[in-house]
Amino acid sequence: MLARVQTILDREVRPRLQSHGGDVAIVDLVERRDRFDVSFQLQGACRRCELRTVTFAATIHGNISKIAEIGKISCDRISMTPVQLDRIGKFFGEHSAAS
């Protein structure tokens, strides 16, 4: 699972963040019954960016949640509710991997 998450990060997420001077790293991956909870830490320019919540929700969450076995997705210093995540998903529609 770690390799699958890392592959998606490397392919779909990190290039976007790196083009803006930022990055993201996996800090934890825990198996809970049939699901894996994963947590991330934003790096570089993304870490203190005013728009880091957008980056997490649209780019990281939007891509990693495509893995069926993934449960909770969290990110250091970012708090998002299910309502927010649902709204963001609808906002970007087919472009849920929005940034």
Binding site: Q43, V54, A58, F92
Partner: protein
């Protein structure tokens, strides 16, 4: 064109974080560590990236309904040799789609020196057809300059005027790194706006966190405009924050001096933002409580494109005919909002 609305994106950036442009790969990494699962600290975390021209054109004009865009230089040199978004890359994007992309140059008197900045400004205007210049005043370790400094800033504005470039744009608020946030206040633009009445000063990001000051200044100085760059990007996460910012700006400044800015390509999917803004309505509760105006169709037309066209003196009917030779005069009239 989005449902008959002309879309001119005030600000997109071609970033360059490739090895040869990054001075200190850890400078922007405030934690200076990458914590891996193994606990190993990886100091070589960054692969280097730059925005690709063909990707940029696709994001704007194929996957989104933008008609035109301004590629804005980011003259931040604390961490980057040629700037976070170098002038040459912005020009390259404009050169790749000259009918649709305009080049906004950028210089900095602290890092290039005043004479260096003036020389480079003239070069960017004459050789690369800069129609505006972007300025950043908050640099690492407290290096800064003010727009009302007669010895540093005014020569820049005077040279711009001599070159026939009268749109000066300022990144206000939103520090990217360890710059001092007070160096990014909007207040210094007031005297400059008075002393250069023929120029227009565009303040980006509504000056976040100095939003009230920024809107207050724009409300009192007719040649100070606002760009909603970065503010609109918050919409999917915090729509009420955006309503609040836009409501204050519309109430204080009006729809004639606010510009659409997607901040691509930090968020390259531009279309959801265009669609969201084009269909946006000010919640009635906020209208009732705070007097924020409804965002009607004409206001949206202005902010999404008509204002930007007016700002840079674009002959919009001629441009519309160029982009779509089959367009009718009635369609042009509608796009200009003459029927709203």
């Amino acid at each position: 064109m989005h449902n008959g609305i002309f879309v001119f994106d005030n600000v997109v950036h071609m970033y360059d974080n490739r090895v040869d442009n990054v001075i200190d790969p850890m400078a922007m990494n405030y934690m200076a560590k990458r914590f891996s699962l193994s606990g190993v600290v990886d100091v070589d975390m960054h692969e280097r990236r730059a925005t690709d021209i063909q990707d940029a054109l696709r994001f704007l004009f194929v996957e989104a309904d933008a008609d035109m865009a301004m590629a804005q230089t980011v003259p931040l040199f604390s961490y980057w040799r040629k700037g976070f978004a170098p002038a040459e890359l912005q020009h390259a994007l404009a050169a790749a789609a000259p009918d649709r992309v305009m080049f906004c140059g950028g210089v900095d008197p602290v890092f290039q020196g005043l004479n260096g900045a003036l020389t480079e400004m003239e070069r960017q205007a004459r050789e690369w057809n800069a129609v505006s210049f972007k300025f950043y005043q908050g640099h690492h370790a407290g290096l800064t300059w003010r727009a009302d400094d007669r010895r540093i800033a005014y020569p820049l504005f005077e040279r711009m005027s001599e070159l026939g470039v009268t749109v000066a744009q300022f990144h206000k608020g939103i520090p990217l790194g360890h710059e001092y946030v007070e160096d990014l206040r909007p207040n210094d633009v007031q005297q400059a706006a008075l002393d250069f009445p023929h120029m227009t000063f565009v303040l980006h990001h509504f000056g976040q966190p100095f939003i009230d000051e920024t809107i207050n200044i724009a409300s009192r100085f007719g040649n100070v405009w606002l760009s909603m760059s970065a503010i609109i990007n918050l919409f999917p996460v915090a729509p009420w924050t955006v309503y609040e910012c836009l409501g204050k700006a519309l109430r204080g400044v009006g729809a004639d001096r606010i510009l659409w800015g997607s901040e691509a390509f930090a968020y390259p999917r531009v279309q959801p933002y265009i669609e969201a803004f084009a269909s946006m309505e000010m919640p009635e509760e906020l209208q009732d409580r705070y007097g924020y105006p409804q965002i009607d169709l004409l206001a949206k037309r202005k902010m999404l494109g008509l204002n930007m066209a007016r700002l840079i003196g674009l002959d919009l009917p001629a441009k519309l005919r160029q982009l779509n030779p089959a367009i009718s005069e009635s369609d042009i009239s509608a796009i200009l909002g003459e029927n709203d």
